[in-house]
């Protein structure tokens, strides 16, 4: 299913406003930016991610950037923590762009610093957009009707514009519907939590249902039922799923049932998941992205050099190598899982 004949050409990134106006800003050339026309066809964000994975592999770099994730020498070189975090993000985006399919920005790390932190969040999303890459806002929103519509405007337009967001489905399908409408309108994508990889997953997501299966199986079924909504040229709909690395049988079963659903896979590296686990949730190496945050942001800490001697160049290079190694490890796992067939 990997599509190498993906008509990439000279697509360019841009904002919703640019797209609404049918213009393509200069200086934003990138393979998976998507043309205005593509975007109007819907599910464009998922097409863009698919093409990015085909080109550069399925690594999603998680910018869960806290000041403690920076090398000590960089923590006080800017006027504020938020400035230092943004500068680090910018360096990391540039350093990892060759091997990253996309970037996921966890808003909590910026919200912690109040308005200044959220300004760094907005600037980080802008830097990702400027690099021509897809930005996923990890905001896990879930609310009803009018509130959900407001959130969608907040995160698909304006200062906090992202290409995709994560959602919490607990309140039901009517909490997802306004997001689906907005995503179709603006050419965006969604990832609903289905089965996460934290131990507490057993408490509610993992409860056994009277009709069989678990709560997360029902969520998966409802998400799969919406896979045709805004299906793009690469076969994936507007609504994706968050599925953490898990036991092998379960992963294969969930992947099979989530046909046409792009999967965001957290839990790689620091959270214990490995390349073999992640590969099981992919479809021939595509159809999903694998997120790593800490292991890339703090790759500098494993360089063996004294922490105080590490500057931004060394830290960015360590992040680049960690991204490349992760990409290659997943590619190897995909190959070894494919070969027995």
């Amino acid at each position: 299913m990997t599509n190498t004949d993906n008509h990439l050409g000279d697509r360019a990134g841009g904002t919703s406003r640019d797209r609404a106006a049918g213009t393509s800003p200069e200086g934003r050339g990138s393979a998976e930016g998507g043309t205005s026309r593509d975007r109007a066809a819907g599910a464009v964000a998922m097409d863009r991610i698919f093409d990015a994975v085909a080109l550069r592999g399925p690594v999603c770099v998680g910018l869960d950037t806290a000041i403690e994730h920076l090398p000590p020498s960089l923590r006080s070189t800017h006027s504020s923590r938020a400035e230092a975090m943004f500068a680090y993000n910018e360096a990391l985006i540039e350093a990892t762009a060759d091997y990253a399919a996309c970037y996921k920005v966890q808003i909590a790390y910026y919200e912690e610093l109040g308005l200044e932190g959220l300004r760094a969040y907005a600037r980080t999303l802008e830097a990702i957009r400027r690099s021509g890459r897809v930005a996923i806002a990890d905001i896990k929103r879930g609310d009803i009707a009018d509130t959900a519509s407001r959130y969608a405007l907040a995160h698909f337009t304006g200062e906090f514009e992202a290409d995709c967001v994560t959602l919490n489905p607990y309140m039901g399908l009517d909490s997802l519907e306004p997001w689906l409408e907005a995503a179709d309108k603006f050419g965006k994508g969604l990832f609903a939590l289905v089965r996460t990889s934290n131990p507490g997953m057993r408490d509610f997501e993992g409860l056994a249902l009277q009709k069989g299966g678990h709560v997360y199986d029902e969520v998966a079924a409802r998400v799969a039922g919406l896979a045709s909504r805004g299906r793009g040229e690469r076969g994936y709909g507007t609504l994706g799923a968050v599925v953490g690395c898990t036991e092998r049988d379960e992963a294969a079963e969930l992947r099979a049932r989530l046909g046409g659903v792009f999967i965001l896979i957290p839990g790689y590296g620091a959270q214990g998941g490995g390349a073999e686990d992640a590969a099981l949730l992919l479809v021939n190496g595509n159809g999903g992205i694998v997120n790593a945050s800490r292991s890339i942001l703090k790759a500098w800490a494993k360089s063996g050099r004294p922490a105080d001697s590490i500057g931004i160049v060394e830290a960015a290079e360590a992040a680049r190598m960690a991204t490349l190694e992760m990409r290659d490890a997943i590619a190897e796992a995909v190959r070894s899982q494919a070969s027995p067939r």
Copy 2:
């Protein structure tokens, strides 16, 4: 269980920082502010709400303020939409403070306007604090471990400091734990979604479990199991529950099972719930708060006067009367439900 001998005295509100320093700021005198010593004992936010309900009834005024909720004449009287919304909030807080137990601020309506909107959000929380009232941030966060700790710092300290927050429990108890720790530390309160009143509630919250009951029954049981965490002088723990107005039998049963758990009840008025429904989720008129947003924010639209002639004074007065009427309707329902016993 209504406690009228509630030792209110001269308690004063203040910020986490004030409280950590053991000081009590001047000019913030209010009945339910709580002393530093009370706060150090934990569950203080729930004690404060309990005392406020005993004094002024269980109405929680929802500041889901969008520009369309303002009378037409006020929509363009400020330099920006966010400024107009904040000015309206300030007038509403002053007008309704005599009859409101607390205020709930839905962050989506502010996030929609980007950084400027979030500045209005921060200023609204500050205005509530200044009035001596309890501020509930309706943010419905739910995330793992370190991320949850960051969110807790974001919403219990600094510019976005609130007294309580709403949480989404889908990811499990380990997504609530960092919030419980932070709430204990800062004297704050939490409300976890249990059973909401939107139609989509049936999709996942309402699924029937193999072991009996629904998903929300299990969430209720786990929340009730944590009721002793930080239990305050009024008998309620740090962790409250969000339970929407629902069928009578179900409401009475849920209330009985959520012993020692303060309940935030949305869905009054615009969302179809009435005083009778809400009263069932209270314990002799306390132990819960009943939120109304639209019916108070837009009470001016029912005044019978031409919309263009309504200024801020008339709109605030309409909100004040709507709050009073709602308080009295719930009090009447509580009395009529108590009398047959």
